[in-house]
Structure formats: structure tokens, C-alpha cells
């Protein structure tokens, strides 16, 4: 994949630090790169894409100048294909599977996907049409990638779809959670718009359980797709978490996506706790807001961090310092309740625990204190257990229990997809996985509700079109 290259950080104009860092391919680069594709038969890149995009086909269409067709091929398999072109860990997926890894250099599939979808965005293309209405209604709870994907497919099948979205805009993490300099909000907005234009109603600022009752949904809709994702960062469980200057990484990144870029961190010392994708996002956002010093503290080592290598490299370019084997034990504030210091302890790795990662334990008498102006917590995300229980669904620690084939929950009428069914040890919580699960949930619902196989279904899954008989 193309290495993400920081263009440096401006302290004078913080806003530019949040503009997309990667420019994408120009037309000539796209032409050369697309012509380099071998157009493999039964291509491994397709197998490696969780949404099964016919990659050689969309690349061939770029080479022939059929950009609308190319974007349609992409978006047909992946309703958030423009976002995925930017945020997928392509070297672990399509590009990692490219046969040219064995001879020269893999094709820049992500960049080509972006080239085609950027064209569609820029030229305001509407790529799909709603299916002939079949009279059935489906509620989608949560308008993130999984929800949008399910809604898009159901709308194409002919369902009357309503998305219930708690935020002011749909798109979920794509709109609010992935840093602007990797994924500008407009990309996610276009994908939302593509879904909305298939007659999908998106009720924003609508929280299920508060603004709409669980019963209302259960009674008024033929089927429900639960795609509520995950919640905020859980508590560290140490003293001082309520001090002024302690932030939740999800909220912190969100503030850089939806509001104006503020300068309260200019020149300040910031510590981010954790070393996952969100921790990297928070650290680079802090650096780009002009923080003088940004440190990541993580209780294990680089080997165990869940952030991708490319994210790590990118953070290093933004001068983020990584402090491995370091665990915060107390956040210390001044008399005004403002955070001033972070007390940490050094850790040592022991035997591997249940998930295979070596378990860290504190080193005796290794406590130390660092001066900080802000602490950003990024140690994972909590679960929307209340919502899940509101629907009366079985779950394990906030992870909805589903049939792995159909994504059906313990309530036959409710299906679930995306981060809300993502449990430890089930691979990675990627946008592209959420998109695929959304498609699968839509298909399972269609299988359950469709009066007869529709043309949409047939074209969707030709090989199994005998399912109803």
C-alpha cells in the first residue's frame, strides 16, 4: 500500500493539519497502475477482500476509462467502498494477496479503489436504484458502516428501510471516529447519501430506547438490524479520571471531525493511554492540534500492540513517542481539579494469557511521574449493554450472540452486524468486515421475508438461487 506520509504539522494553521494527508493517484498514475494489473483469473485479491469486491474487474474498468462502471463494481460489493479505499489495512487484505508480491510489487488496489470512487463522488454519480417495493419494513438501528450496508442492500431488494441514528449524522465511525486526515467526512457523507437516495429514511438524533421505544420497533417493523457498534472508552479504574484534562479518545477524535479545530493543546504535554487504532488516532490528532509533546503509554510492547504497522509509522512521523511496558496508576491534578501529572509503573511481560498475548505485571518500585496537561484514554470501547438488553437479546459481555451463518440473534426477528457482534479473538474490527456483515444480515432477512426470490436476490447470489425451494 502507499505509505501514509505526513506533510508535517503547521502550528500556525492547525486546520490544515486535519486535511487528508494522502493525495491519491492522479489520472496518469491510475492509468499506469491499472494497466499493471494482471487481471488474474480467480484472483486471490477477491478472496482476501472481506466484501469480495471483483478487484481485477474494477481495475480493468479504470484502464478502459469506464470509471462509472468501476465505481459501481466497487460499491456494489461494498456500500462503504470509498471509505474502505482509504482505511482498509490493504497490505493485510487485497494487496497482501496480490500475486505480484511474488514477482514485483503488488498493485496499489486501495489507491485505485479510491481513484474510482473519488471520481464517482466528484461527478455526483448515483450508482444504484431501489428495488421494486415488496411491502415489508425493516428498521436498522445504528447508521454506521454495518447499518448503511444492510440498509443499502435491503433497499435494493425492495424493502422499506428506516435507519435510527443517535448522532446528528449517519456514518458512525466513518463520519465521527476515523481521523479526518485519513478519511475526510465528505467521503462518509457521500456514502450515506447514496443509501438515502435509495428511499431509505434516516432518522438522525434519534436514540432507540429513549426517543423510540423497543416495543415500537419490534411491533412496527417486519425485521430489525442491530448495528449499534461500540460505546465510549471504559474507565481506567485509577484515581483522577474525573479531572479536567482527562479525555475519552473517541470523543476527542470526534471533536476534531465535527467541530472547528481548537488550540487548547498548543504546546502542551499529552499522554495517550493504549496502543490500538484509536490510540494512534488520538495521539496523531493531539500532535496535529499542536501539542508540544505526545506520548503513548502502553503496558505491553510493540509486538502486542493492536495498531497496524502503518499506523505506528505514521504516528512516528508526527513525533509521537511510544513508552512501552508502562501502565498509568494515578492521574494527579492541582487544586483547581486540572490534571498536572500522570503516575505510571513499569511493567514486565510474563506468560501468555488466554488471548495468546503475554501478560504484563508491574515491576516493583518502578513508579515514576510525568508532567502532563492532558490524558487521553484509548484502552478499548465499552458495550451498549442496555440497548442490547432493551431488545431482550442474548449477549456475552455486551457482545450480541448471533448465528454465525445468518447473523440472527436470539430474537428471530432481530439480526445484528458490525462491532456489536465483534468479540475478542474473532479477527479484526474493520470497517470492511462491518460492511460485509451488513450485507449478510440483509441477505438473511431477505431469505426470511421475501415472498419469492426477487430478481435482486438472483443477481446478488446466482449460485444459490434455489434457496426457497
Amino acid at each position: 500500500m502507499t505509505q501514509l506520509k505526513s506533510k508535517g504539522i503547521s502550528l500556525e494553521n492547525l486546520k490544515v493539519n486535519f486535511e487528508e494527508v494522502h493525495d491519491g493517484l492522479n489520472a496518469q498514475e491510475a492509468m499506469e497502475e491499472s494497466n499493471r494489473c494482471l487481471y488474474c483469473y480467480d484472483a486471490p485479491c477477491i478472496q482476501a477482500c472481506p466484501t469480495g469486491i471483483d478487484i481485477p474487474k474494477f481495475i480493468k474498468k479504470i484502464a478502459s476509462g469506464n470509471l462509472k462502471g468501476s465505481a459501481t463494481t466497487i460499491m456494489s460489493s461494498n456500500p462503504v467502498g470509498a471509505t474502505c479505499a482509504r482505511v482498509c489495512p490493504t497490505e493485510e487484505l487485497c494487496e497482501g494477496a496480490c500475486v505480484l508480491n511474488h514477482s514485483t510489487e503488488p498493485i496499489l488496489i486501495g489507491d485505485l479503489q479510491r481513484f474510482a470512487t473519488d471520481w464517482a463522488i466528484k461527478n455526483e454519480q448515483l450508482l444504484f436504484k431501489p428495488g421494486k417495493k415488496n411491502g415489508k419494513k425493516v428498521a436498522v438501528v445504528g447508521g454506521g458502516p454495518a447499518g448503511l450496508s444492510a440498509a443499502r442492500e435491503l433497499a435494493r431488494f425492495g424493502y422499506d428501510v428506516t435507519i435510527f441514528e443517535a448522532e446528528a449524522e449517519a456514518g458512525g465511525l466513518d463520519t465521527y471516529g476515523i481521523v479526518s486526515f485519513r478519511l475526510p467526512q465528505d467521503i462518509s457523507r457521500w456514502e450515506v447519501d447514496q443509501v438515502e437516495k435509495l428511499d431509505v429514511e434516516i432518522r438522525t438524533n434519534t436514540r432507540v430506547g429513549t426517543d423510540v421505544s423497543f416495543d415500537e420497533l419490534t411491533n412496527d417493523y417486519d425485521s430489525i438490524v442491530l448495528t449499534i457498534g461500540m460505546g465510549n472508552v471504559p474507565m481506567l479504574g485509577i484515581d483522577g479520571e474525573d479531572l479536567d484534562g482527562v479525555h475519552d479518545a473517541i470523543d476527542f477524535v470526534k471533536s476534531t471531525k465535527s467541530g472547528p479545530i481548537t488550540d487548547e493543546l498548543l504546546g502542551k504535554n499529552v499522554v495517550v493511554v493504549g496502543a490500538g487504532n484509536t490510540a494512534i488516532d488520538a495521539a496523531t490528532c493531539a500532535a496535529r492540534k499542536g501539542a508540544g509533546d505526545v506520548k503513548i503509554v502502553y503496558r505491553r510492547t510493540r509486538n502486542e500492540m493492536t495498531a497496524y504497522e502503518f499506523e505506528y509509522d505514521f504516528a512516528k512521523q508526527d513525533d509521537v513517542e511510544f513508552n512501552w511496558l508502562t501502565q498509568p496508576v494515578e492521574i494527579i491534578g492541582d487544586e483547581n481539579g486540572k490534571v498536572t501529572h500522570l503516575k505510571c509503573v513499569k511493567m514486565a511481560l510474563g506468560e501468555p494469557d488466554a488471548d495468546g498475548r503475554r501478560r504484563p505485571s508491574p515491576v516493583e518500585n518502578s513508579e515514576f511521574v510525568m508532567e502532563v496537561d492532558a490524558v487521553i484514554k484509548a484502552i478499548g470501547q465499552s458495550r451498549y449493554t442496555d440497548l442490547i438488553e432493551g431488545f431482550g437479546l442474548d449477549h456475552e459481555g455486551g457482545v450480541v450472540t448471533v448465528d454465525p451463518e445468518t447473523l440472527q440473534t436470539s430474537n428471530p426477528k432481530v439480526f445484528s452486524a458490525g462491532d456489536v457482534i465483534f468479540a475478542k479473538g474473532q479477527g479484526e474490527a474493520m470497517v470492511v468486515t462491518a460492511a460485509q456483515q451488513g450485507k449478510e444480515a440483509a441477505m438473511a432477512i431477505h431469505k426470511q421475508l421475501a415472498p419469492e426470490p426477487t430478481s435482486a436476490y438472483k443477481s446478488f447470489n446466482k449460485e444459490e438461487h434455489t434457496w426457497l425451494t
Binding site: 494497466n35 494482471l38 488474474c40 480467480d42 484472483a43 484502464a63
Partner: protein, 428 residues
Amino acid sequence: MADLSLNLAGIKSPNPYWLASAPPTNSGYQVQRAFEAGWGGAVWKTLGEPILNVSSRFAAVGFNGKQVAGFNNIELITDRPLEVNLKEIYETKKRFPDHAIIASLMVEPTQEKWHEIVKRVEDVGVDGLELNFGCPHGMAERGMGAASGQVPELVEKQTMWAKEVAQTPVIVKLTPNITDITFTAEAAVNGGADAVSMINTINSLAGVDIDSWDTIPNVAGKGAHGGYCGPAVKPIALNMVAECARHPKINVPISGMGGVSSWREAVEFMLMGATGVQVCTAAMHHGFSIIDDMVEGLDNYLDEKGIDSVMDLVGKSVEKYSDWGNLDLNHQVVAQINNDVCINCNKCHIACEDTSHQCIDMLKDANGNDILKVREEDCVGCNLCSIVCPVDGAIDMVEYANGKPPMTWNERQAAIGAASSCDVNLIK
């Protein structure tokens, strides 16, 4: 260091690379720059009555994002006065006495005109003459170029007229826009030609703009056929050279051209009977400096093969070129896939499955890895898989010992004929 010097019908040049009569040899300035860069000779852009050219003259055909796979032009012969060209030829020859300057000529098909032009250009010291019977556009409508080059009688007669007064070797440049080039080549020989050169450009329309629906190129919205050349025409040119080279009555040297872009094509043309090559499109695409690699690559090739002189290459492959009826029907090659080199793009499989003989299987090996395997008994040795394979060495076409004695179609027909003419009826 091999001897790269060339002798074509008495015309000598320090290496076998001449610039063909075309835009690169339009002026003394250009030809001198070319000689400075290392070109061995130049065929001056065709002299004749100065013409008027149109604006918007060239077009090219790209392939898979690569520019200039083929090149098309509607430019005519020189648009400069004869006196100016002659003066510059004289000056260039004086400055580069060891380089070959050949004057390309085109005049109306009369004895008087040919005599006049031959005398005038020989007066300024050219090393040879090339009669342009090939230009396919613009001049043909006036009875010159390809119009005369397509009629064997006219080729013979005009060659004769030029030969009547010529002191230097006469090369006849032939058009490929004809059913069988050996007819006109033979006519040139009958007219006394000292050599033939081929191919001139092929009638062509480079393209149609799918937005404006105009031809490419177009002059104020109108197009006319041009002449096609460049890398894409090499196989056509090479065949024409080879057909002439193996023709018993065409016993004069051949100057080969058409798609020569590097020393490799030069070697191919020379092996197929060309005494030296002419180049245009490659120079137009990249400038004169490409001669550097053309000379060095050829020199290294000859050294590697232990060949002392480039002239020793001439015609070495001609006897290997024959008619289909002389090919061994019992010879068999089959594809073999080297799975350790193969990158599993499966292009060979789908090419064979969809468009050839369905004999490449996608399988798993004992460790569950994807492999491709040829069912040799079903392989006809068509080469398609090895052609579409993107990796060097992944597919070999190997000889398959089927135990059958060689038998050509001609031998087979002769045997059948012999059998049916005697009483023993073998075929029933």
C-alpha cells in the same frame, strides 16, 4: 568489438543503422545531429517537386497505457526547395564523408523526370539513391509513390529509367500495400535495382475520437488515410523481408525497416535477410540518442555470439523460413508449468479453458497449496499459456517425444498421391 560496418550493394556505413526517409531526415541540421549521435547513415527525406503539407499530421496508437505502439502520418515528401536540400546534402556529406547519405526520390513517372533528378542529386555526392515507390498518401493521388509502386510494370520501368543514368547504387523502396510484395520486388530486380528496401508505411486510420467522432488525426474535421509504422508493424515487415529474402529471383540486398526500435529487431531483420536496417518511429519517439544502445547492444550481442562482423548475420535464418506445407506435422511440444516460479495468477488456465484446448487444471498439492498442471495428453502445444504468462520461466514449452517420424503436409500429400496412383489402395 565486432565489425559493425555495413556494405549494402556498395553503399558503406560505419554501422547498420540508417535513419529512414522521413521527418528525422528533413534537413542538414537534423541529419548532422544524427551522425553526431552515432547513426551510420541517413536516407534523406524524399526529394521531388516541393509539396504543401497539412497541419495536424501524426497520430499514434497506444496499448495498455503505453504510448506509440503504432504510428500514423499524413505528411508528404519534402516541402523544401530542391536546391536547399541539395546544398545541405553536399555540406553534410562533406562533414561526414564516412557516413552514408542516400537520396530518396519521387518524381512523376516519366523517363525525363527521373533522369533529371538522378543527375542533380548525384552531383552533390550522395552515396546512393532510394526510389520512393511506397508513400501511400498524398503522392499516390498524383500517380507517384504507392500508386506506381503497386504496379509491377511501373516499378520495373521507373527503376530502369533511374538506372539508365545512375552512377550510384539504386535501392527501390517498396510499398506493403499490395497482396504479395515479391511481385514488385521482382519487378524492381528486373528493372536493374541494386537493392530493395521495405517496408514503407501501411495504409491506416489511427483512430476515431469517440467524443467528437472526428478521425485521428483530422484536418479541420476531416481525415484521410495515412501510413502506419512503428513497433506494431514489425511482424508484417519482417515477413515481407523474409519472403523476399527466400525468393530465388530476388537476389539483391534488402534494406529492412518497419518497427525496428532497438538492436534486437535489427538482429531479427538481419537474420531474416536484411542487409542493415532503417529506423524512424523509435527516433521520433525518443530522439537520436537511442542509437547509443542500438550500437552497443548489437556489439555486445555479436561479441557474445562470437561473430566478427555484423554482415555475418545477414540471412542466417532465411533457410529456416518456409511454407506451412513443409512443417513437420508429427512434431509435438507441450506446456510445462513450473509451480515454484508460478505466481498463481491463473491466466494460463483461463486462457486455455476459455479459448484454447481446456488442458490446464487448477489443483491443490499435497500441502494444500494452489498449483496449476497441464494434462499433456490434451495439450496441442499452441503456446497460448506461455504467451499470457506474466512471469519469466513459469511455463516452458517442451518437446514431447511421441515416437512418430517427421512428416510434413507436402510429404503426406505426396505419399497419398503416390499411393492413389498405384493399384494398391492404401488409404482405404
